[in-house]
Amino acid sequence: MTSTRSRAPRPLAGGLLAGSGAAAATIGLLLAAAVLVPVLNLAVAADSPVHMPTWVVSLVGKYLTFALLALSVDLIWGFCGILSLGHGAFFALGGYAIGMHLMREIGGRGVYGNPLLPDFMVFLNWSELPWYWHGFDSFPFALLMVVLVPGLLAFVFGWFAFRSRVTGVYFSIISQALTFALMLAFFRNDMGFGGNNGLTDFKDVLGFDLQDDRTRAALFALTAVVLAAAYFCCRLIILSRLGKVLVAVRDAESRVRFLGYRVEYYKLFVFVFSAMLAGIAGALYVPQVGIINPSEFAPANSIEIVIWVAIGGRGTLHGAILGAILVNYLKTWFTGAIPELWLFALGGLFIAVTLLLPTGIVGLAEHLRRRRPPATGDETPHLARETAP
């Protein structure tokens, strides 16, 4: 006999139900930043108190690419319950795709002056360009690869994993193994991606000097606009019936199957879409920071993304954006002021958020706004649930 089950609704879907106010505010803020930041950087005199130096523009631009990455993780983890510990891999692959284009753009201006081969290949005594480097001289081709390569990897990986119903921590662990394997592979010189130095010393993109303030401001504006667009797309998905199916999969996967939905296709769709978003984030990241190397594949990076989302508020798209910006601002501050304490702070955040703030900042804010006790119910149902007859 089953007694009353204590599975109270987690307030995770709060963001879903929250009116379009938060969405409008997020998009509005991002578009405003896309205009304002370049103006404050380029049109305001350098000695003015509201002038924004270029390094700040690039730093905030970097935060926004992380926000896009967090958005992609939130879409699968927050809404579909798939905890990927390998999403940094898709980010890095997108970054490598654009990095390869930027390397080809250097052309004969490299240290060795080889018009075709990037410097590291000349250094390794390679005589010709590997086949997979062909085509990257074309910008549209590189853009295509930015979404296609992560998308394809996610498709193949997801196809195998979801079809075999690899779920929960098992999925997390093998996705971590995936990014770990890729990291090892990209560290190898003979892979042809620059080994542990990665790809760097980029000169320009589409003929615009990457060191130029205007290029940097434009990259920032582009990032903000892309983030706003991605946010909008994610919201469309979440509000559609597809989004409802995803949340249903998160909460009661087998029920969804018995309703006749092919859960694996839904997971595959959202996983591939999310990987593509991560790839785009990587492609926006690389020209702004000027380097991509295999350490971006490190499993630790991928886990860090998850904590951005958790802090902002899992299952709320704007929470993911907020969390990414906040944690990365903290990181910048800590590593400048008290670097030896950063890992304590980050580790503490992981623990504190999971223990004390399971709904993140956005959840906390909503809770305070509604001024009523949260519907937490029994938050510690034991695993024994699985062993019920």
């Binding site: 006999m1 089953t2 007694s3 009353t4 089950r5 599975r7 109270a8 609704p9 987690r10 995770l12 879907a13 879903l16 998905i237 559609s240 019936r241 597809l242 409802k244 199916v245 949340v247 249903a248 909460d251 009661a252 087998s254 029920r255 969804v256 199957r257 018995f258 309703l259 006749g260 939905y261 092919r262 859960v263 296709y265 839904y266 769709f269 519907a375 019920a388 007859p389």
Partner: protein, 257 residues
């Protein structure tokens, strides 16, 4: 439905559900042991049995969650269910209600029904899905049937236990299945709710075939349908409730040992 129909082995093409010699074992434990069970169209059948008799495993086999080690499982006369997965089987028209009420806690009652409503289950169809007026009417009708019209905007997680059971039955109904498998619908319900559930099931059986697994004998009695007793993975007895309750073997299984 006569008792004779329960005992006889009908032709495969006459049945809506046909299980023959089905065995399933988990690590040496035989959950189903050459189980044979036949349900004909429009039938309401109650299945009872002590814990571990194989009732839930039987449902798992029919709905594609568990693959049998041996035996045949056919739906609607000729469709081999052992080759299909849960989604395909569900789309063929077999609906299942779990033992624990399983609804989508973070969705409203309305959304729960919307997710269950019959239609294209494809990913892209879902992305561009909009409820038609006809479908709204159907949802309203089901909401009325399960007495949740007033609660349609509430999160399913905030419903009472009995309401969740009904919502789940409502989700089955709106799927418009041919065969419903219902696992312990009265579990954890008040007497009044149990009674209402029995009425609801009898209403449903007018145009569906239904298999109900239940422990509550009063509930089974109120259904007034043929009963099959499972024990250790196979059928121990079949017939009216009175007949099986008088069966010596059944009494031993329930009371003795």
């Amino acid at each position: 439905m006569s008792t004779a129909a329960v005992h006889a082995r009908p032709e495969k093409h006459d049945t809506i559900l046909y299980l023959d010699g089905v065995s399933v074992s988990f690590d040496g434990f035989k959950a189903l042991n050459r189980l044979s069970l036949y349900i004909v169209a429009g039938e309401l059948r109650a299945i009872i049995g002590p814990n571990g008799a194989g009732k839930t495993t039987m449902m798992d086999v029919v709905t594609g969650k568990t693959r049998p080690d041996a035996g045949e499982v056919f739906f609607n006369g000729g469709i081999d269910l052992t080759r299909l997965d849960e989604a395909r089987i569900a789309n063929l028209g077999i609906g299942r209600k779990f033992q624990k009420p399983t609804v989508f806690d973070n969705h409203t009652v309305l959304d729960n029904l919307e997710l269950a409503i019959a239609g294209d289950r494809g990913v892209f169809a879902s992305l561009f899905f909009r409820l038609s007026g006809e479908q709204r009417d159907r949802i309203d009708a089901v909401l009325h049937t399960i007495s949740l019209t007033a609660d349609s905007g509430r999160l399913a997680g905030s419903l009472s236990h009995g309401q969740k059971q009904w919502l789940e039955i409502g989700m089955l109904l709106i799927q418009d299945p041919v065969l419903l498998l219902i696992d312990e619908p009265a579990a954890g319900m008040t007497d009044a709710e149990t009674e209402a559930t029995a009425v609801l099931l009898k209403e449903i059986v007018k145009d569906h075939s239904v298999v109900v697994v239940e422990h509550d004998m009063a509930f089974v009695r109120s259904l007034g349908c043929p009963v099959t007793v499972l024990h250790e993975g196979h059928v121990l007895a079949s017939g009216t409730l009175d007949a099986v309750q008088a069966n010596q073997q059944v009494i031993e299984v329930y009371l003795g040992r």
